[in-house]
C-alpha cells in the first residue's frame, strides 16, 4: 500500500514538473537584440523547436548597392540572394534543461559561418548566447536583451 501511495505521488510530481516546463520552454519566444545592436531577432516556435530570424536591421541597405542587404557571405552561392531581413540565424533549438535551449546552431551573416550554440536565460529579459566549434569550452558568449521588457 505504501508503495502504491509512493508511486502515485511520484507520478503526480512528474506530471506537475511536465506541466511546469511548458511555459518555461516558451519563455524564449519574443524579440531579442544582440549586444552590438545591429539587428533584432524574433524567436518563434516552429513545430516543437525554436528558431530566430532577423526582423530589423540598424542598417538595412547595402552601402555598395543601396539595395536591401542579402546573405552575401553564405558559403552556398545559391543562397546569397536570400534577404538578410527575415534570415533565420538561430535554428533547431530544443528546450533541454531549466532555462536552457540546445541542439541548435547560430549563423553569423558577417562571415557566413555556422556555429553550434547553447542559449541560457539568465533572467526573463537576458540571454547568454554561446556559439562554439566542437566543444562549448571554445566559443564566445554574447548577451542578448529582450526588446519589449517583461515586468
Amino acid at each position: 500500500m505504501i508503495k502504491l501511495i509512493f508511486t502515485t505521488l511520484l507520478l503526480i510530481a512528474a506530471a506537475a514538473t511536465t506541466l511546469a516546463q511548458a511555459p518555461d520552454a516558451d519563455a524564449l519566444l519574443g524579440v531579442w537584440e544582440p549586444s552590438n545592436g545591429k539587428a533584432r531577432v524574433k524567436v518563434e516556435k516552429l513545430g516543437n523547436k525554436y528558431f530566430g530570424k532577423i526582423v530589423w536591421l540598424k542598417e538595412p541597405l547595402d552601402a555598395a548597392t543601396n539595395l536591401p542587404k542579402v546573405d552575401k557571405n553564405n558559403p552556398d552561392e545559391a543562397l546569397r540572394s536570400t534577404p538578410l531581413k527575415g534570415f533565420r540565424l538561430l535554428k533547431d533549438f530544443e528546450y533541454t534543461t531549466t532555462n536552457t535551449w540546445e541542439e541548435g546552431t547560430i549563423y553569423d551573416p558577417e562571415n557566413g559561418n555556422t556555429y553550434k550554440c547553447i542559449i541560457k536565460m539568465k533572467d526573463e529579459n537576458t540571454l547568454d548566447i554561446r556559439g562554439y566549434i566542437g566543444i562549448s569550452t571554445f566559443g564566445r558568449t554574447d548577451i542578448w536583451k529582450r526588446l519589449v521588457l517583461k515586468k
Binding site: L46, G47, K53, V70, T82, P83, K85, G86, R88
Partner: protein, 165 residues
C-alpha cells in the same frame, strides 16, 4: 547461418533497381494570420503521414525510398495583400527529428496572373524530414508594410521521389 541470411538480404536488396517518379502533392493552403509586420512573417502547416499513402499506392515501403527532392513549387493567390505587398517568399521544411531544410525561394517575388514560382533547391532531400509521423512546411513572406489583414495563398509542390523497386 547468419552469414547466409545476411548475404541473401544483401543480394535481395542489391537486385532492386532504383526508379524515379514525379509526385504532385495535394495543394496546401498557407495562411499568415494578421496582424502582419513590415518584414518577415512566418506561416506553418503541419503534414501528417506523407509517405505511407504513396508507398501503399506504389506497393513499396518507406524503407525503399531513397530520396525526395523538390522539382517545382508554385504559389497561387487572389489575395491583394500578397500580390501588392509581399516582396519575397521562402519555403522550408522541418520535423522534430531533423534540421530545418530550405526547399525554395523567390526573391524578388514576381507574380504572373496570380501565380509565382519559387526557385527550388534541387539538392534538398526531404526524406529525413518526411519519413516521420509529422513534419511542417514553413513559409516566410516579407511584407513591405504593417497590416492588420490576414494573407492567404495555395502552394503546389511537384517532387521527384526515388525508390527501390
Amino acid at each position: 547461418m547468419a552469414c547466409v541470411i545476411l548475404a541473401a538480404t544483401f543480394l535481395q536488396g542489391g537486385c532492386k533497381k532504383t526508379e524515379e517518379k514525379e509526385w504532385e502533392l495535394a495543394p496546401v493552403a498557407i495562411i499568415w494570420e494578421g496582424p502582419l509586420m513590415e518584414g518577415p512573417n512566418t506561416a506553418q502547416v503541419a503534414i501528417d503521414e506523407l509517405l505511407q499513402p504513396w508507398c501503399t499506392q506504389h506497393q513499396c515501403t518507406v524503407a525503399d525510398i531513397t530520396h525526395i527532392t523538390p522539382k517545382s513549387i508554385t504559389i497561387t493567390t487572389t489575395d491583394s495583400l500578397l500580390l501588392t505587398s509581399c516582396t519575397s517568399l521562402a519555403l522550408q521544411a522541418v520535423s522534430d527529428d531533423s534540421k530545418m531544410l530550405r526547399i525554395g525561394i523567390a526573391n524578388p517575388l514576381v507574380w504572373h496572373k496570380g501565380r509565382a514560382t519559387l526557385t527550388t533547391t534541387p539538392d534538398a532531400d526531404l526524406l529525413p524530414i518526411a519519413n516521420g509521423n509529422q513534419f511542417f512546411w514553413i513559409m516566410d513572406a516579407n511584407f513591405a508594410a504593417d497590416t492588420e489583414a490576414t494573407a492567404r495563398c495555395t502552394m503546389e509542390l511537384l517532387l521527384t521521389i526515388g525508390y527501390k523497386k
